[in-house]
């Protein structure tokens, strides 16, 4: 088929594909994966796939690194529209509706036959499944999933006269602690901010922590109606804006996401909110003792989930689909899930993975790894709708307008809701 594959060794490739065609019933799978956590994760994925291939000689998996999450969904959809999709891919859980609308993926319910498989499907944490199911069907299998948590600098807490082992547990405490933790030099310049909630790029994600705590859901599970103008959403945004505008415990303006861990390490901020995906990074690089806690509560505790799911693509043979399912079952099995979680900091998506000896040893050595899992009890689906890219960018623009003071939280959210309605009304 690919007669010119890899310039220069075309002949070799052709000879190989001939000999491959000779072996009976070999299944070729192409697997796209994004890497949102640097080179080490790519190595782990490749190690896992080759381990699987060694145990299953009749299946050949070609694991293809596909860039960021955005690049991966673009690549997979382009390939699908071009008539040559991968068999399976890890893509953001929030892209589920997009993939369904493009008719690119199949529901797992259509592939699953045995009771054993049904039990397997039920063993994932419900919080992760919220983003993986719609209309009563399961379209994604949680794999590299995360949730935001709060990291705090214990030394800074001590210096401010706070108990280093008690993080703020409520919105009110976050402001109170933040005021004590905000340090100014003689000329009045802030040298250490109390809190850092990054707002660049995808502010909606951390903001969804605040809305969930304020007991409001941003979008329905059919993905066709948003709730941006709800008074509780506006109240949450007002709180976020007030952190810098009124209480002066957070730097004003848009706060860079990527530079956040570094700012935390250098003591520019005593508390930061960011993904659990950063856990290993913080553990390796923080030059002081730090703690990890759930996000503070208001009306309730809460946080969104995030990260990527496995999807199986429609346009492949039945044998390929069955092999893909088998691979996904294998890689999400307790032992593999534990290995993946330990290597990256992503939250192992099943309770039984936390029962393995490796995971227990890891958690005993490093208890903060448990915080994210425990928070899952309060977690909700990440904002996800049809036309997801457009809706989230409308929402992000609204948040940015309020954060930078261009419009009031109320105006910004009403405006965002109107724009979202205009797009989503076709899907109701």
């Amino acid at each position: 088929m690919h007669f010119t594959k890899k310039l220069g060794i075309g002949a070799v490739a052709a000879a190989m594909s001939l000999s491959l065609a000779g072996t009976a019933q070999a299944v070729d799978l192409q697997f796209f994966f994004p890497v949102a956590v640097g080179g080490k994760a790519a190595d782990t994925i490749e190690a896992l796939t080759s381990e699987y291939a060694a145990a299953n000689p009749d299946v050949k998996i070609d694991a293809v690194y596909a860039g960021s999450y955005q690049n991966t969904v673009t690549k997979a959809l382009t390939a699908a529209r071009g008539g040559q999709p991968p068999q399976l891919s890890v893509i953001l859980s929030v892209d589920m509706f997009t993939l369904i609308e493009e008719e690119a993926i199949v529901a797992f319910d259509d592939l699953i036959k045995t009771d054993e498989d049904k039990a397997w499907l039920k063993a994932f944490y419900p919080a992760f499944m919220e983003n993986s199911q719609t209309g009563g069907k399961t379209y994604g299998i949680p794999f590299q999933r995360s949730t935001p948590v709060m990291y705090w600098n214990k030394e800074a807490f001590k210096k401010a006269g706070l108990d280093p082992n008690t993080p703020p547990a409520t919105w009110k405490e976050l402001v109170e602690f933040g005021k004590k933790l905000t340090v100014k030099d003689a000329s009045g310049n802030v040298t250490q901010w109390g809190v850092r909630i990054p707002s660049s790029g995808f502010p909606y994600w951390l903001f969804q922590g605040l809305t969930t705590e304020n007991d409001v859901i941003l979008a329905n599970s059919d993905g066709n109606k948003t709730n941006f103008a709800d008074p509780k959403v506006i109240e949450a945004l007002q709180y976020l804006v007030d952190l810098s505008a009124k209480h002066k415990v957070m730097a004003p303006g848009i706060i860079e996401w990527g530079a956040t861990p570094k700012a935390f390490f250098e003591g520019e901020s005593a508390i930061m909110w960011t993904s659990t995906g950063n856990l290993t990074n913080v553990r390796d690089n923080a030059p002081f003792e730090f703690g990890v806690a759930m996000l503070p509560a208001n009306k309730r505790r809460g946080a969104p989930t995030g990260g990527g799911n496995f999807y199986i693509f429609k346009d492949s043979t039945d044998a390929q689909k069955a092999a893909s399912l088998d691979f996904i079952k294998w890689i999400t099995a307790p032992k593999q899930a534990a290995k993946w979680s330990i290597a990256t900091g992503y939250v192992a998506p099943r309770a039984d993975a936390w029962e393995t000896a490796e995971m227990k040893a890891y958690v005993a050595d490093f208890p903060p790894a448990l915080v994210a899992r425990n928070q899952l009890e309060y977690a909700v689906a990440e904002l996800s709708t049809y036309q997801n890219q457009r809706i989230t960018s409308i929402f992000n623009d609204g948040l940015e307008a309020a954060i930078t003071g261009k419009s009031s939280p109320e105006e910004a959210m009403n405006d965002a809701q109107q724009k979202a309605d205009k797009i989503l009304k076709d899907y109701r």
Binding site: K5, K6, L7, S68, A79, K262
Partner: protein
């Protein structure tokens, strides 16, 4: 009075020199930062201490994070094959548009110009289909093929060919030269500055292209350096500026060095070709 004139002259000159320096600094600042960060340990990424220890570790880390040697080879193969394809196709097309009379010439030329208005990213799916039809998915050729019949190149060369005096053409014809000889002996040599300028634009554009190569290729054997570079853009984990700047310097290094070496020729040919 002569003193006053001299003073005014100096004033003017000082102003343009300052402006030139200011612009150069603005342009240069990211590069200076990259050099600083790449050669110092991570702790000094945002702290400027003159005595900070120098290190090459960031480069080693970056080099080991992806198979860059192979990626460099791929990129060189890619830009060379595109450049050759563009030169051949654009020269022939431009010559036809500039010197031949045929029915529908202007219509066809307008169609070629329309290509300039279309963002290549819009065509990704169509291009993918074509490559799949040709069985070229995951090859270096597939990355380059959509760019070879460049509308910009045809336009630029046609304009250059049009400025070449018809008398030279006629003289060659009187001597008995055929079309191809005239093209190769008269037009191409006189358009050298345009080729050089266009070549530079083309090479630097395709050296830096990212999305299409990422989509159409799957394996280490075909992917260019930009795809390797993207391994470092991991916002989830916090960005390690030291390694990312080292990798950036490494991947853009060959182009920077080439530009510095051939600076004079480039600038001159840009002036002559009218690309500014």
């Amino acid at each position: 009075m002569s003193a006053a004139r001299a003073f005014r002259f100096d004033y003017d000159r000082a102003l343009s020199t300052t402006a030139a320096w200011a612009l150069a600094l603005v342009w240069f600042a990211p590069l200076i930062y990259a050099v600083w960060t790449a050669f110092h340990p991570t702790e000094f990424s945002t702290r400027f201490v003159l005595t900070a220890p120098l290190t090459l570790e960031n480069f080693a880390a970056a080099w080991n994070a992806a198979p860059f040697a192979r990626y460099f080879l791929n990129t060189v193969l890619l830009v060379t094959s595109i450049l050759i394809g563009q030169f051949v196709l654009c020269t022939l097309a431009a010559f036809a548009f500039a010197r031949f009379e045929f029915r529908g010439r202007d219509t066809v030329f307008v169609l070629v110009l329309l290509q300039l208005l279309v963002m290549p990213d819009i065509l990704i799916v169509e291009n993918y289909r074509t490559m799949r039809f040709l069985g070229l998915v995951d090859t270096i050729l597939a990355i380059g093929l959509p760019y070879m019949a460049s509308g910009f190149g045809i336009f630029l060369l046609r304009q250059t060919f049009k400025t070449i005096p018809k008398e030279l053409d006629d003289a060659a014809r009187v001597e008995g030269a055929g079309f191809f000889t005239i093209l190769m002996k008269v037009y191409v040599p006189l358009a050298k500055p345009t080729y050089l300028a266009y070549g530079l634009v083309s090479v630097s554009h395709h050296w830096n292209n990212f999305l299409w190569p990422l989509i159409i290729t799957n394996s280490v054997e075909t992917r260019p350096v930009t795809v390797g570079l993207s391994v470092f853009a991991s916002t989830d984990q916090g960005i390690d500026w030291a390694v990312i700047t080292a990798a950036t310097l490494m991947t853009s290094g060959p182009l920077l060095i080439a530009f510095l070496l051939f600076q004079r020729q480039f600038v001159q040919s840009f002036m002559r070709a009218g690309i500014k």
